[in-house]
């Protein structure tokens, strides 16, 4: 088993809004190993993005990390001061956002935006900087880098913009990269290109990749291990194959059944109900109001993750009593 790079333990990130405290991430624990591709999957609002932002400690106001431990290379990130954190961001841990047209500053050209990142961490000469920027743009497959680096984000297509965003994230060769739904806002054909690029770069640079998505197809293609999140909690962690073959958590099974398949005649299932209000989440297991297997116990106390077979963790009281269908059944 590979070394642990990032270890999140009991992370709680709450948003203190006027309507009440939104428990966006509530007691989340998982780890990311060196060089692996981990999937972080769940519906919108399940806390995937907030988890990533918490690791970088850039949770926007009124959000705040309330409790927990985020160990990166053995050091607790929550104990670092702002200057130390600033040095980590971009250099050790980087993130790519969902929509490249809003994650690039519209009024600076590409060269300036990449240079700002480089110069924030390294003291290098203008010439070196220029050379690095051209190398970076070549790395992410933007042709005619010398010309295009002087252009502004609005002069790039969606896929090219995401490549620029990837170049910015990889500028300092971070050891951990969060990709927050990096292809959701792109055309399907471009999606495949960007995913291939990410996979290739991950291999080339030997970094760990955390793929945040709600797309089970991307999870199957890109990852070796998966963390399933629901309403701010982790409900299942498993190797990707195991998860697809025999999911243990009812929510995971429903997620898998909700993927449209062209190759077989199967009714597409939807998950009844909505993601709960996180100001007053359901008691006990947060999924129990939508779960067909729920018993009285589920509403009383939240289940904890237990290892049901090697490398397969699930937070469900009923896992022994139910048999769930995986992808191929």
């Amino acid at each position: 088993m590979a070394e642990t790079l990032l270890k999140i333990e009991g992370l709680k990130t709450y948003f203190f809004t006027e309507a009440g405290i939104v428990k966006a991430v509530d007691n989340v624990s998982f780890d990311v190993r060196k060089g692996e591709s981990l999937g972080l999957v769940g519906e919108s609002g399940s806390g995937k993005t907030v988890t990533a932002l918490s690791v970088l400690r850039i949770v926007p106001k009124p959000g705040k990390i309330v409790e927990g431990k985020i160990e990166f290379k053995g050091e607790d990130l929550l104990e670092k001061n702002e200057t130390e954190m600033q040095a980590m961001r971009g250099r050790e841990i980087a993130i790519i956002f969902q929509d490249p047209s809003s994650s690039l500053n519209p009024i600076f050209n590409v060269e300036t935006q990449l240079r700002d990142v480089l110069l924030a961490h390294e003291k290098i000469s203008k010439e070196e900087c220029r050379k690095k920027i051209i190398d970076l743009m070549n790395l992410v497959g933007i042709p005619e880098a010398e010309i295009r680096m002087r252009e502004f984000p609005h002069q790039f297509s969606g896929g090219m913009k995401q490549r620029v965003a990837i170049a910015r994230a990889l500028a300092l060769q971070p050891t951990l990269l969060f990709a927050d739904e990096p292809t959701t806002s792109l055309d399907v054909t471009i999606q495949a290109q960007v995913l291939d690029l990410l996979e290739e770069l991950k291999k080339k640079l030997g970094m760990s990749l955390v793929m945040i998505t709600h797309d089970m197809g991307i999870i199957a293609k890109m990852t070796t291990r998966v963390v399933v999140m629901y309403a701010g909690n982790v409900c299942e962690i498993a190797k990707t194959e195991d998860l697809y073959e025999h999911p243990r958590h009812p929510y995971t099974a429903l997620l898998l059944a909700a993927v449209p398949r062209l190759d077989r005649k199967k009714k597409l299932r939807i998950i009844p109900g909505n993601i709960p209000n996180l100001i007053e989440p359901p008691s006990g297991c947060r999924f129990h109001p939508r779960c067909e297997y729920a018993t009285g116990k589920c509403a009383e106390e939240p289940p904890v993750l237990e290892e049901v077979e090697p490398e397969h963790f699930v937070a469900c009281y009923e896992w022994k009593n139910i048999s769930l269908k995986g992808e191929n059944h």
Partner: protein, 310 residues
């Protein structure tokens, strides 16, 4: 720009004639002047002709930079207006620069901590500024700082009859500027702060700010380099409009402080129905506004690359 200037001149010309007859004003002072003299005066100034003809005459003259003669004292208009352009520009530019210099840091800080104590105080203080009449605030300042405390001059742009405030020509200028500038700045502060604050609030929430933070760029650079540059663009548009408001709003301030500028002359000429002077000032202000707008448009291209035409 030229059609705009023409349009404004026509509108001003027509409304001015609706205001009254300057010649009959003579009767108000000298009731004994007979009708023949008045008619002769009307003919002399060309006021007996139909308005469109008068407008065309005026236009031909103005295109040769001939502003005509004042109906009030007979001086060429250019001599009345000429020396008053600079004091107005001085007052406006100083106020504008100070207003922006003050409002930007205040607005940025308010946006970084929205609804904090500082934000609430600043917002209500500036709201008070925009709500109150300029002349009233000007008078209060004069009463407090000139008459009661005797710290600052109450009128004019330079010390009268060899008396210099604070004993130096430059300091004297500054002393005279303080009160009128204070009024103009306070009045425009609210709009500036509210506008920049609102823009900053929105932009600080945007993805590219989060992305900039996530790349380890320093907070200072994120706020002032990334966010403010984006927030200032709409503020510039507003500035171009505000400039018009300031030039139009300045007559009251100039009048209260007896500032020897275009605004005060405007008020006086209007009371005298001195048509050539009113038209002369209107045209000067129009041209100043149009030039200001042009400068803003050019600045825009430098600040926001998206408006560049490829």
């Amino acid at each position: 720009m030229i059609p705009v200037a023409l349009g404004i001149s026509i509108v001003a010309f027509v409304t001015m004639y609706a205001a009254g007859d300057p010649i009959s004003l003579i009767r108000a002072g000298k009731p004994n002047v007979d009708q023949t003299t008045l008619n002769a005066l009307r003919a002399y100034y060309g006021l007996d002709q139909p308005v469109p003809i008068q407008y065309l005459n005026w236009l031909t003259n103005i295109l040769q930079l001939n502003f005509g003669k004042s109906l009030y004292g007979g001086q060429p208009v250019i001599y009345i207006i000429g020396p008053k352009i600079w004091p107005t520009i001085e007052l406006q530019v100083v106020s504008l620069l100070i207003a922006f210099a003050i409002s930007i840091p205040i607005a940025v800080n308010s946006a970084r901590k929205p609804y904090s104590k500082q934000d609430v105080i600043v917002t209500s203080f500036s709201l008070f500024g925009v709500s109150m009449p300029t002349f009233w605030f000007g008078l209060i300042l004069i009463i407090v700082f000139s008459f009661t405390l005797g710290w600052l001059p109450s009128a004019g742009a330079v010390g009268a009859a060899g008396f210099l405030w604070w004993g130096n020509p430059i300091l004297d200028q500054i002393a005279h500027l303080i009160l009128p500038v204070a009024v103009l700045v306070y009045v425009s502060l609210a709009q500036n702060i509210r506008l920049i604050r609102a823009n900053m609030l929105e932009i600080l929430r945007s993805d590219y700010i989060l992305a900039a933070r996530a790349s380890g760029i320093s907070e200072r650079k994120v706020v002032y380099g990334y966010a403010l540059r984006n927030a200032i663009t709409p503020a510039l548009t507003f500035l171009a409009i505000a400039l018009g408001g300031m030039i139009a709003g300045a007559p009251m301030t100039e009048y209260v402080f007896s500032w020897p500028g275009l605004g005060r002359q405007y008020v006086q000429s209007t009371l005298n129905l001195d048509f050539p002077t009113i038209m002369g000032i209107t045209m000067i202000i129009t041209v100043m506004m149009l030039i200001a707008n042009l400068i803003m448009d050019i600045l825009y291209v430098y600040i926001d690359p998206r408006v560049r035409i490829r």
